[in-house]
């Protein structure tokens, strides 16, 4: 999915400081980009903008050529269905089973009726099989019938990735997916996201505090107080550049 942000400014309230301030970014289809920045830099705001959880009043955001502010509800719903998300907290339904949570990834093509059918009758056989394959990839097939509330943080993140494997989105927004998880889960999560993006030609945006994780990406965008302070390859992302980015953020604070 191609994304363009053209001089985008976002404020959460009229007199509040800008959460994103004159941001210009062009993202090509299939790129894997790490977004780094301290807390409050604008990473989550950028992701909310792309999922249309909020709308920029100034500037323009286009996704595959469609202006997200001007598109109809139906157009935007179709676009949003091609976006897969994974957050630090997992965003899973705790009281439901692992398999049902993964099966929700198929909602993208099924529409509102599919969602009601899934809720009422469970996943059909072919969907259940695809879910089990995804769970096997992340080494948690034995947890398919377990409740999500019984899982550890690392296992929950693996379930969230399985949902993405089943959904096969065009855009993957990963908001600190490896924070607070064990090393094995972190490795599995990152490798699965990278493989999924490469296999489907999906664009991957991964927000992280971890510079080593950021260096795995093709490109790094650094944010500080809502502004882009670095946009270049991971190779050029030296320790000095990182320190300057975070120092600038501290000074501005």
């Amino acid at each position: 999915m191609q994304i363009e942000l053209d001089d985008v400014t976002v404020r959460y309230a009229r007199n509040a400081p800008a959460a994103l301030d004159g941001v210009d970014i062009k993202i090509g289809s299939g790129e894997q980009i790490a977004v780094i920045g301290s807390s409050g830099a604008g990473k989550s705001t950028l992701f909310k903008l792309l999922t249309r959880s909020l709308v920029a009043r100034h500037g323009r955001v286009t996704m595959n050529g469609v202006d997200t502010a001007a598109g109809s509800f139906r157009e935007m719903r179709r676009l949003r269905q091609r976006i897969g998300t994974i957050h630090q907290r997992g965003d899973l339904i705790d009281v439901s089973s692992v398999r049902r949570n993964v099966a929700m990834g198929t909602l993208a093509g099924a529409g509102p009726r599919g969602a009601i059918s899934l809720a009422a009758f469970g996943a059909p056989r072919d969907v259940a099989r695809a879910c089990d394959e995804a769970l096997d990839t992340l080494e948690i097939a034995h947890l398919a019938d377990s409740r999500v509330s019984d899982l550890s943080g690392g296992q929950r993140q693996r379930v969230a990735v399985c949902r993405l494997l089943v959904q096969r989105p065009l855009l993957i927004l990963a908001d600190e997916p490896t924070a607070s998880v064990d090393a094995r889960s972190a490795t599995l999560v990152l490798e699965s996201l990278e493989r999924l993006a490469a296999a489907n030609g999906s664009t991957l945006l991964l927000a992280t505090h971890d510079v080593d994780v950021a260096r795995r990406a093709d490109r790094v965008v650094a944010l500080a107080h809502g502004r882009v302070v670095y946009d270049g390859t991971a190779d050029e992302l030296t320790d000095d550049v990182v320190q300057q980015t975070y120092a600038r953020a501290r000074q501005a604070a």
């Binding site: 976002v10 404020r11 959460y12 309230a13 999922t51 249309r52 959880s53 909020l54 709308v55 920029a56 009043r57 502010a69 509800f73 719903r77 949003r80 269905q81 976006i83 998300t85 957050h87 907290r89 997992g90 965003d91 899973l92 339904i93 705790d94 009281v95 439901s96 049902r100 929700m104 990834g105 909602l107 993208a108 099924a110 529409g111 509102p112 009726r113 599919g114 969602a115 009601i116 899934l118 809720a119 009422a120 959904q167």
Partner: protein
């Protein structure tokens, strides 16, 4: 010269005591005004006539009518009351199911910043309509609904069930909507992002997370329906309330005592059944 280390003199009457005195005065004035308006007179409880009337009432209660014939009649009234409460609950659930999802603010799109006024207005109309309908239904007391339905369908338990059911629908719809609003936002947003519509989001996300509380509230509403079924009987809408009305008007306090014991028994049964259902569903 004043010693700089000396503490400033305390005011004669500390400020906090002034505010407490003022608050106390206002409260006392409010109580006196309210008592005057209601004609409150504790002396009325202790005068000779009142003592005799209370005595007659209490002596009737000490000797409830436990004759076979009367107990059979009370048993039939109890069954009728249960039936009214159950039908009323079903009516309430049927009303709440379509309205509660539209009355839950977290299922609206209007909370996005930057959304145009036109789009917000379009989204908010069903929300306001649902909330206002639920508010109207629960604002009108069951007794008034009973008068309406007795006029419409005639005296008897059906009028009572309709009256209690409409009121219960308003209450349940509001309470269910509040439970839906209280669930965690993150998973709901994720499901909506995947393309589930309003009812799909409820089926997959909201209902699993809120169902325990919704079930508890619904069972509690059934108990409230039982008590309401007693009241609406006073306007001819059937059940044990009608018997209560007759026994009080005819000063048959021993029968009133039997009916109140029957009411206690019904509430105990309802509470026990509710507990069993909650445990089974957990």
């Amino acid at each position: 010269m004043q010693d700089p280390s000396a503490r400033p003199a305390e005011p004669r009457v500390p400020r906090r005591w002034l505010s407490r005195f003022g608050f106390g005065t206002v409260l006392a004035a409010l109580l006196i005004w309210s008592a005057g308006g209601t004609g409150a007179d504790p002396g009325l409880l202790v005068d000779e006539g009142a003592q005799q009337r209370i005595g007659a009432f209490v002596s009737g209660f000490i000797h409830p009518d436990l004759s076979g014939a009367y107990l059979a009649e009370v048993g039939r009234a109890m069954l009728s009351t249960f039936q009214i409460s159950i039908v009323a609950l079903m009516i309430g659930i049927v009303i709440a199911i379509p309205l509660a999802p539209f009355a839950a603010s977290n299922l609206l799109v209007t909370r996005m910043p930057g959304l145009s006024l036109r789009r917000k207005a379009f989204a908010v109309v069903p929300y306001q309509a649902a909330r206002n309908a639920l508010n109207f239904m629960r604002a009108v007391p069951e007794l008034i609904w009973a008068l309406v339905f007795v006029t419409a369908v005639g005296l008897g338990p059906f009028a009572g069930a309709l009256a209690i059911g409409v009121h219960a629908g308003g209450l349940l719809g509001k309470l269910w909507a509040e439970q839906m609003e209280a669930v965690d936002d993150g998973p709901i947003e994720a499901i909506r992002l995947l393309g589930a519509g309003r009812f799909g989001t409820i089926g997959l996300g909201v209902w699993p997370m809120a169902r325990q509380n919704i079930l508890s509230l619904t069972l509690y509403q059934w108990e409230c329906n039982l008590r309401a079924a007693t009241i609406v009987g006073f306007v001819g809408a059937g059940g044990i309330g009608q018997q209560l009305d007759v026994s009080i008007r005819l000063f048959q306090y021993s029968e009133t005592a039997t009916l109140i014991l029957a009411l206690l028994l019904m509430v105990f049964i309802a509470d026990s059944v509710s507990t069993l259902i909650r445990r089974a569903v957990r």
